[in-house]
Amino acid sequence: MVVVDKGRDIDVLFVIEGAYPYVKGGVSTCVQQLILGMPDVSFGVVFLGSKPEDYQGIQYFLPENLVYLESVFIFAPQKLSSSQKVTGQGFHVLQEFLEEPRTFAPSPALVDPEFYRTQATFPAFLHSRQSWYSFFVELYRRGGFTVPFVDFFWSLRNIFFPLWSLASVASALRQRRIRLVHSHSTGYAGLLGSFLKRTIGVPFILTEHGIYVKERKAEILGSQWIRQGQPWDRQEVDELQDLWIRFFTNLGILAYHWADRIYALYEGARNVQIRLGAPPEKTGILPNGVEVVRLARLRGSRQEKIPHVVALIGRVVPIKDVKTFIKGVKVLVNRVPDAVGWIVGPEDEDPAYAEECRRLARILQIEDRVQFLGFQNLEEIFPRVGLVALTSISEGMPMVVLEAFAAGVPCVAPDVGSCRQLICGGLNEEDEALGEAGRITRVGDVQGFAEACADLLLHEEKWKQAQAAAMARVQRFYTIEQMVERYRAVYHALGVKGGRSIV
């Protein structure tokens, strides 16, 4: 469904899965900033969503230089086109998607829209003998599956269902003049990027804000949806979960294979990409940026005295390990009697977990010291807190840390993702010389967490040092302007030169 089409050539076509412009979040913010930051470049966006009813409309103001926006709902029911053949010889090729990732060497046909239009059509996938015998039956037999065939069958249908809508989107976009394709994740977005790379032949870059394959895997292993119906024993569930994981892992390999450049937010993530199959020579790092100018104004509204408030800013979900934070506050109160912990973030994602957290605070008898504030405007939070703290067991590049830095708040964070790089400076020697913008703790270390917080809250000179390092670091390396310039340089190197129309 084309939402915006100004009929102009597209310099950079973003392929975005489950984010801009329908869902707010880190990726979406970054995308909006890139579009706003390069008014001389014309952008297009292909949004990939599950089903229309899963989204509440466009959440962002669409800039002038967004010349094309198409929404594709890959799990929405599709009409069978009667013009397409109900036969197909290509189904053994489709099997590659479920190969062992170690040996997966994607055939070019897999990202060729023509292949899906002639060799393995959607009607044929659903109804032909070819797909039945040389796809479903063969895969089941070769894989030695023991799950009920009906579950295997529906899993496979669901896994492969979106391929055809992606192929037809790519086909339709062949008409457009596009200079560069930029996917913001692997997965379905990476697949569409690969389709476009192969059909239009323009450069294709891939940036990952998180590691898509890892996130999918965690989601599949943790989710209950696969276990509908009868309670199969563990072994059987795993076969189907394994199918999904293999598919997403291979989608990652496929996108890495077709991308011209692959970027991560920080070094650790880049290494994970390489481990997941990204050729090292294509990889690079493009850190995010925050609106330092806007946030820096908040520093003025701070009181002289350091507020003894430690704020965990993030969704109340297990991956953020809010319980360690609560226990940490308990210990902290012993050292800093007037210390208060704020938990700032929505609780609706995992209400059961949120309830457990509240109960923990009651059991520890610090329910008056731990406040659940829900979703808040961070501009009102930053000036009133002494520290922003994270206790997550996993993070990518947490934007809230950079925002806190810009607003003049040091951070205490566990040694996961890019936290060490942000707090201790890890980009280069200059960065390191700026000093520590807070403290790094070990994951799940309640005592260490409380010590670190107490150390900063009780020693004003240390806190001031950390604040100075934080502000200097974000100003020097993590501004929006710098992020935009880095992307511009990447686009430029691949042949997209802005400035034709506006500048």
Binding site: S50, F149, N158, G210
Partner: protein
Amino acid sequence: MAGVSFELQEILSKKGLFSFVRAAGYAVALSSGNWLLATGAILVLGALAQKLAVPPLLFLQYKTYVTYVIALSLIVSGAFQLLFTRYVADRLFELALERVFPNYCGALLLVMGAGCSVGLGLSFVLCRGLPLTFHLLFVATLGVLSGIWLTSSLLVGLKNYGRVALAFLLGYALIVSGTPFGFRFGLFGGIFVFYLGQLILLCLLAACVWQEYPSNTLIEWDFLRKGRSYPALAFMGLSLNFALWIDKFLFWSNPGTGENVFGHFRASPLYDVPVFLAYLSLVPGFAVLFLKLEVDFSRAYDAYYRAARNWGTLGDLFRLQRNLLESAQATFADALRAQAVFIVLFMALEHSFLNSLGIKGISLPLLRTLFLGAFLQLALFALWGLLSYFDRRKELLWTAILFALLNGSCTWVTLRLGPALYGYGYVASLSVVIILAFQFLRRFLDEIHYWTFMRPGG
């Protein structure tokens, strides 16, 4: 995180994969139940008229009239019997019990209306020259009988055998006891008693439906809405019933084999008695067929589909497919074997048998040919029953149409070729259709997994 949400299972949900066909599974085979009931009725009433020692001509007129109204009403209602039984079975599967009765009323109104309209049209041909009361009675009787066939096929399809049998017994007891009285007023009195008895029978059957599925709504036309029922079944029912009567119509109308009885009602004494006897001989074969379908085959059928729907690995499905194949073969073979035994017995004892029934002067060679035809008819009904179990509506329709065309054309040809070949048209057309139906069934069963998963609903 980025990424589309992950609740996928609804997209191509399991619903609709296995449409529910069990209850209506062998509706086709059961519609032969109506046909047998009708045949029985014709013979019973014929024998009754004879026993009452009414004048031979009156006896023949009565029998001919009854045969006409039964045949015509079966054909007219044939368009609704399968369609509506299936519609109700689907509603029962959805547990929409309250929909049954109002839609039944709708269907009843429609089928009776159709019966009366056809009756009205034909009365100008058949009853030409007869008093107006004949016209009216003919029209009303066709309407009532059409309603009866619709209702009894519905009740039998829902396995209320006992009630149907009881209702028919009562209805026919009334007719039998009232007919001597009726005949005092001539032919019209006799057929009026027949009409009254059928009307009471219809009321009894309709009361059964009401009792089983009460509802607050009186009438609905939901079964006519697109997507709620299967038009193919209407054509199938129509063709099937037409095919079963076309040879008789041809024998009646052919100058050499048929004669005018009264008005423009015709009969073919040469053909009618043997053919109804042959049909009646199918009772043991049908009994075995139903028993096998109901007991053995349905078990294998359920086992396969339960495995396909819930628990079976591909290996399990192949194993259960073999079971299903064997069970289909056994059902087919056992029914035919029982029938063959009966026919052999009959042929050995035909003289004493016919004498004991008081039937004289029929052509034995024709009778034997028609016995063979009835045997093949049973085979075809068995194949149809199996095909309808698997909801192969398209194949059912095509074989029924083919049977109608072939039975008509082959019978027409044999009528031209002379008495030696009478009955062989029926036999030949059945042979061809059986081969075709057999191929359809075999090809489906060979690929049952493919059809089940990739092409549910054909």
